[in-house]
């Protein structure tokens, strides 16, 4: 009998080709070591609660009440839950017939989408249409859905920044399209030179690729930078001229740790640029409850907002969303709470504010500890908290080749074995040939940061001494 359908050789090639480093080799090795009893500091993925960040109290109160609505009838509920949490729970339960246990509208609960639209309007100063906002099980799902709509044939290309968050490369691989890289300039705060962009697209087209979309990750992952307003304008103009749909991954919009380049949404800049471009450029923007100071990764909550996408296309995107029936309802409520936060005067406002500020300020401090820590290490440069460049000596590169590993993978594995710090090698995100990075996160507890950085410095400087 011939081989079976799910024998390795008979699998969909696109599945085999796709790679997702964030939970790849380093993570698996780290998990092995953890099982053996070694203390591991997981900094491979932006997973704040796993590293001790506490959930914000108010949303958890609201969701607990939504989970157990019979509590609302109990006369003693006020002993455990503040009145505004009770009111919010009632509000959200009223928005979806059947509460948390019923499939909602496939685009997400209409009332929540209105709240998200209002949030966007307050942020940008331009109105947003709830009909063009779809809630999703995490931003990742939304990104995959949109890419699936765009990629038709292997020659359909998507411009993706290098370095990038490997969801993009994995998804493009999976759907059988072409990734067209454009390089960010490390020495210019990971900014964009528009000429590099033109070169990338020109090269791709010469190779027969139909470039259809451009991804920007702003603020950047793994790079951590915010694009300047000028860069955003250039990108928007470029997409308009080259007939590309712009995909703006803005999940880190609330994680800004420097004041030089504040966050501006692609949509705001687009509308600032006025007609005709503001009415014609196709844009999809993504956001999440997993990042910011909420860090609610485990809820799987996110949304995408479509701008200038024709109604028939929106219908098709809706149709695909309807096959999975609906995004999970609890996460939709988290998104509503994020979009429509407590106000001054609300009972829980002070606590919520204090918790939020506390997290953000701590993140900022940790970002600086990490940046300064890395930059004080031998051969470690350009650190903007979490994606430092490691200048590996040729002998280290040779040693890596001998064990058949990429040089940065070799370095990161050695770092892991020596210190328990689990990072992701830069090759997982893409980098210029011969230039190496690692990605970590600023999420370990603040009190642990100094020792983590000194641990890293000790390992790094010894490694460099050894191989130089």
């Amino acid at each position: 009998m011939s081989t079976k359908p799910l024998d390795y050789e008979n699998l969909n090639e696109n599945v085999k080709k796709c790679q997702y480093a964030v939970r790849g080799e380093l993570y698996l090795r780290a998990s092995e070591l953890q099982k053996e009893g070694k203390k591991i500091i997981f900094t491979n993925v932006g997973n704040p609660h796993a590293l001790g960040q506490k959930p914000l109290t108010f949303p958890r109160q609201v969701i607990a009440l939504c989970q157990a609505p019979f509590l609302l009838d109990d006369p003693n509920v006020g002993l455990l839950f503040p009145a505004d949490a009770i009111a919010k729970a009632k509000h959200y339960l009223s928005l979806n017939s059947g509460g948390l246990g019923a499939y909602s509208d496939s685009r997400g609960i209409p009332g929540v989408r209105i709240e998200v639209a209002d949030f966007i309007e307050r942020r940008d100063g331009y109105p947003s249409d709830p009909e063009h906002i779809f809630l999703t099980d995490g931003a990742s799902k939304g990104i995959m859905q949109i890419l699936h709509t765009i990629i038709r044939v292997p020659t359909d290309g998507v411009l993706v920044p290098v370095p990038q968050y490997p969801l993009y490369s994995a998804t493009i691989s999976l759907y059988g399209g072409s990734l067209v890289p454009y390089y960010l300039e490390e020495t210019a705060d990971w900014g964009l030179d528009i000429n590099d962009l033109r070169q990338s697209i020109g090269q791709a087209r010469q190779n027969g690729t139909t470039v259809r979309a451009m991804v920007i990750i702003n603020p950047g992952n793994p790079t951590g930078q915010c694009l300047t307003e000028q860069n955003l304008r250039q990108i928007i103009q470029f997409c308009y001229e080259e007939n590309l749909v712009l995909l703006a991954d803005e999940v880190y919009q609330q994680n800004i740790y420097q004041d030089k380049h504040p966050f501006m949404s692609a949509r705001k800049v687009l509308f600032d640029m006025g007609q005709p471009i503001s009415k014609e450029l196709q844009l999809v923007s993504f956001h999440t409850v997993s990042k910011g100071y909420w860090g609610e990764c485990g809820q799987r909550g996110g949304y995408f907002e479509m701008t200038n996408i024709p109604p028939k296309s929106v219908e098709e995107i809706y149709k695909v969303a309807s096959i999975s029936l609906s995004p999970n309802v609890p996460a939709q409520i988290f998104m509503g709470l994020l979009a429509n936060p407590l106000k001054l005067g609300d009972i829980s406002y002070e606590q919520f504010s204090r918790e939020s500020k506390g997290i953000l300020e701590s993140l900022r401090r940790r970002a600086h500890i990490m940046t300064d820590g890395f930059n004080s290490c031998k051969n470690v440069v350009w650190a903007m908290y979490s994606f430092p460049q490691i200048q590996l000596p040729p002998r280290a590169i040779d040693a890596a080749k001998k064990v058949e590993k990429a040089a940065d993978v070799f370095y990161c594995l050695k770092l892991l074995e020596a210190t328990g710090i689990s990072t992701v090698p830069g090759s997982g995100f893409g980098q210029k040939e011969g230039v190496f990075h690692l990605r970590t996160t600023i999420l370990p507890a603040e009190e642990d940061m100094p020792s983590i950085m000194s641990s890293f410095k000790k390992f790094n400087d010894e490694f460099m001494d050894r191989y130089e």
Binding site: N12, V15, I63, Q67, A102, S324
Partner: protein, 533 residues
């Protein structure tokens, strides 16, 4: 008009991609003037008028997206929502005062109550800081508090807001594996489990893995739950239909499987898997054990992956049938990992818990090599993990309160109330449908649906053709407009050509059933009077 345009678009896209691939295969760069006239024209046009071919229009969208359909939330529901808005804006504008959604298996949207114990545990896991408070003991049952502690201990750092292992939290998988073992009497390995946001994403994952090109086929029952047809279309494969036999209570005949398999093969289709939905959706039948053994033998013989959709495993209403998982059946036949590849799907959305909005579920994969498992893991990891609350719920569903637990009695009472009510409603609607002229309805042995067959008179079929609608959609639309009752036309599930059905859920509240029955009966009589003459 839209179909015509998209057909044209597809042709255009095919032509364009053929041109592109010609360019790709040549080793030199092709400047504009060396392209074929059509390609050159396209390039020229696109530089002249970039916005005449906007990136995401109906003409340039992925054709697989265009191709797929999902009737459960399709056209009829859109019409129903418009009518609902009408009633709101303009009460009395229609001969009914409410829309009765019988289109979707969404029990809690129709007032089915959640299982208290499950919700208690979930609430405590969502807000663990109240676990230590004394007031909590006054508001929650002791065993819910205990279970919440147990679950939180299995979650690193008790962090329910953190991404988990991509297969789902290990401790919860252990619980589910024990639950599977208790159900079947055969061991289950937690490493075989992938917890997902409902069963649907797990189905998509398998389709992704199995379908390489349109020459790959998946055997699906007709009628089928349209997730399968939609997913196969989205991933670019071919649905190979096998017809369930309405005359024998939607029987699954091996001879039919063999016939369809051979036909597909002779058409150059490489058939890779067999989907079985048990209990059936929309058909509601529960397979007999002997039948299940035949299916297992067939898959083993033909080297097919068996995809067992078992989301309705806790919805069986007839005393003469019982649910047996395909895992149990294969193991009881002495078949193990080396004999057959089996994927079993379960969900928290159905049963007596009906927690659709939570998006919880899992697939259990057995009979796959380590290399393939790695690939499945990799696919799961791209989305990082499924939502934690749904994972917790899946573990509760597979490991509910036991005799002796404080909540056991109330849990049992709630479970019994839901299941017996579902059985009663199934019977009432079934009887009503069978009493209608020209309508036959097989019994709902399980699941949540009735799938009656309507013998539509020729006059009705002609009227449907003139209205450019499928005859069963024509009937369903008239039904909706006259009564406010929303059903899904049978063509959304596929059916033997020339037969017409609709799917109606058994979920409306029990007190609404008599009104539904009388309105439906009245409508049907008028319909037959009008179209039989």
């Amino acid at each position: 008009m839209r179909r015509f345009v998209s057909h044209k678009a597809r042709n255009l896209i095919t032509k364009t991609s053929t041109i592109s691939s010609t360019i790709c295969s040549s080793s030199t760069i092709s400047p504009l003037n060396s392209l074929s006239p059509a390609a050159a024209a396209l390039r020229f046009l696109s530089t002249l008028h970039p916005h005449s071919m906007d990136s995401i229009t109906i003409d340039t969208i992925n054709p697989k997206v265009l191709k797929c359909e999902y009737a459960v939330r399709g056209e009829i529901v859109t019409i129903a929502q418009k009518l609902q808005q009408d009633l709101k804006d303009n009460p009395g504008s229609h001969p009914f005062d409410e829309i009765l959604y019988c289109n979707i298996g969404n029990p809690q949207s129709l007032a089915q109550q959640p299982i208290t114990f499950f919700r208690e545990v979930l609430a405590l896991c969502d807000h663990p800081s109240i676990l230590d408070k004394s007031e909590t003991q006054g508001l929650f049952s002791a065993d819910a508090i205990e279970r919440a502690f147990q679950i939180l201990d299995q979650i690193p750092g008790r962090a329910t807001g953190a991404y988990s292992h991509s297969q789902g939290i290990k401790g919860l998988r252990d619980t589910i594996a024990s639950g599977i073992e208790a159900r079947d009497g055969f061991p289950a390995d937690p490493n075989d489990l992938f917890l997902t946001d409902g069963a649907s994403p797990a189905v998509h994952m398998m389709m992704q893995l199995l379908i390489r090109s349109e020459n790959d086929g998946i055997l699906c029952p007709i009628p089928q739950y349209p997730l399968y047809s939609a997913s196969i279309a989205l991933h670019g494969g071919t649905l190979v239909p096998y017809y369930l036999d309405e005359q024998t209570g939607w029987g699954l005949e091996i001879s039919e499987l063999e016939h369809q398999l051979n036909t597909a093969k002779s058409n150059g289709i490489d058939v890779r898997a067999l989907v079985v939905i048990n209990p059936g959706n929309p058909t509601g039948q529960v397979l007999g054990e002997a039948n299940q053994r035949e299916i297992v033998e067939f898959c083993k013989k033909e080297g097919l992956v068996l995809l067992a959709d078992e989301v309705y495993q806790e919805n069986v209403y007839v005393p003469d049938k019982k649910f047996h998982s395909f895992k149990k059946i294969t193991r009881s036949m002495g078949y193990g990992e080396k004999d057959i590849s089996l994927v079993s799907f379960q969900s928290v959305s159905k049963g007596f818990y009906g927690e659709c909005g939570k998006r919880g579920g899992y697939m259990e994969i057995t009979g796959f090599s380590p290399e393939v498992r790695e690939q499945i893991y990799k696919l799961a990891s791209v989305n990082l993990c499924s939502n934690i609350s749904g994972q917790i719920l899946a573990s509760l569903v597979m490991s509910p309160p036991k005799v002796g637990d404080e909540s056991y009695e109330s849990f049992s009472a709630e479970k019994e109330a839901v299941l017996s009510s579902l059985a009663r409603r199934a019977q009432a609607l079934q009887d009503a449908l069978n009493s209608l002229e020209g309508v036959t309805c097989n019994r709902a042995e399980g699941a949540m649906y009735l799938f009656p067959r309507i013998n539509l008179p020729d006059k009705a079929i002609k009227a449907a053709e003139e209205a450019k609608t499928a005859p069963d959609a024509f009937y369903a639309k008239l039904l909706l407009n006259a009564t406010g009752i929303v059903v899904v036309p049978g063509s959304g599930f596929r059916q033997v050509p020339g037969t017409w059905h609709f799917r109606c859920t058994i979920l409306p509240q029990e007190e609404k059933i008599p009104a539904i029955v009388s309105r439906l009966t009245e409508f049907h009589k008028k319909f037959m009077d009008e179209f039989c003459g």
